[in-house]
Symmetry: C2
Subunit: 170 residues, 2 copies
């Protein structure tokens, strides 16, 4: 089964992200607005219990992480994804590194750029137009996130939560 | 904020439910296939920690519950919702009763009819046609569910998971 690990920001930020996603993100209906800590990976039914226990351990070893957002950015020219840029604090980077290392074969070749997607799969013209507007947005948001979730993907592409892990809790 | 409590069945059953929901349920994109234990209710930000702790206690006091489905049914004439009828085992009923009582003011006036919706908001003609086909389906599914989730609703009507509770776990 295909799993992923994400953090959901507060309802307030999810509502704000959705106000853009509904128009600019075809994944709008597949998952709520989120910060991906570990992109899709495969686990067999036999592996899930052990893996989940390891995630519990990692969660206990980290404290709640600050989420700071001050601008809209884009992955262009790599791709046309537009996102809320999340400040890569050491707390967030350390947590992501620990999660990444948990499946050693699957360590990503890309650097971790924490973000919350608000638009993707846009044509070049759409991207220029929309990014031109959104980058002017004044956004200055700060909150603390105390949990992350393990999700699995259904056949239709949508994601269901399997488990919640609390940062810094015994 | 508006909260709800649900169980997600296995991926296999969710995929099966979605194969109908995609055509017959306008809530298809708002939440994965689920069994509702407690429909939408209001909690303030100040109440959520206490409430969540109580849910933890309830979860510990119950064991994983069997989920048995042997037919497709409909709430007609009350409404036109079509669903997988879930056998109301004592384990499931006791769990639901405990959850219902947790917010005493909010005790429902309806009896608990455990179900997984696969179609709703249908016109009378659509309902007759679709229910006529689906009730002939041979369905005989059995699994055990060991957790439930507390979700909150976003402004667009979709639901995000706040917390996962394990049945029978210290």
């Amino acid at each position: 089964m295909k799993y992923g690990i994400v953090m959901f920001p507060s309802k307030k930020l999810q509502d704000l992200a959705n106000s853009y996603r509904m128009r600019y993100d075809p994944h709008y209906a597949l998952i709520p607005p989120h910060l991906t800590l570990k992109a899709a990976f495969e686990l067999s039914d036999g592996e899930i219990a052990t893996y989940s226990e390891k995630l519990n351990q990692i969660a206990k070893n980290h404290r709640p992480v600050p989420l700071k957002i001050s601008k809209v950015s884009s992955f262009q020219p790599v791709n046309n994804t537009i996102y809320f840029k999340v400040e890569p604090t050491s707390e967030l980077q350390n947590l992501q590194k620990n999660l990444e290392e948990l499946l050693p074969d699957a360590v990503s070749e890309y650097a971790f750029v924490p973000h919350i997607t608000i638009g993707q799969k846009l044509s070049s013209d759409e991207h220029s137009d929309i990014y031109g507007q959104l980058r002017m947005l004044g956004i200055d948001h700060e909150e603390v996130i105390d949990r992350f979730h393990l999700l699995y993907q259904l056949d239709n592409g949508s994601w269901t939560v399997y488990e919640t892990y609390h940062l810094g809790k015994e």
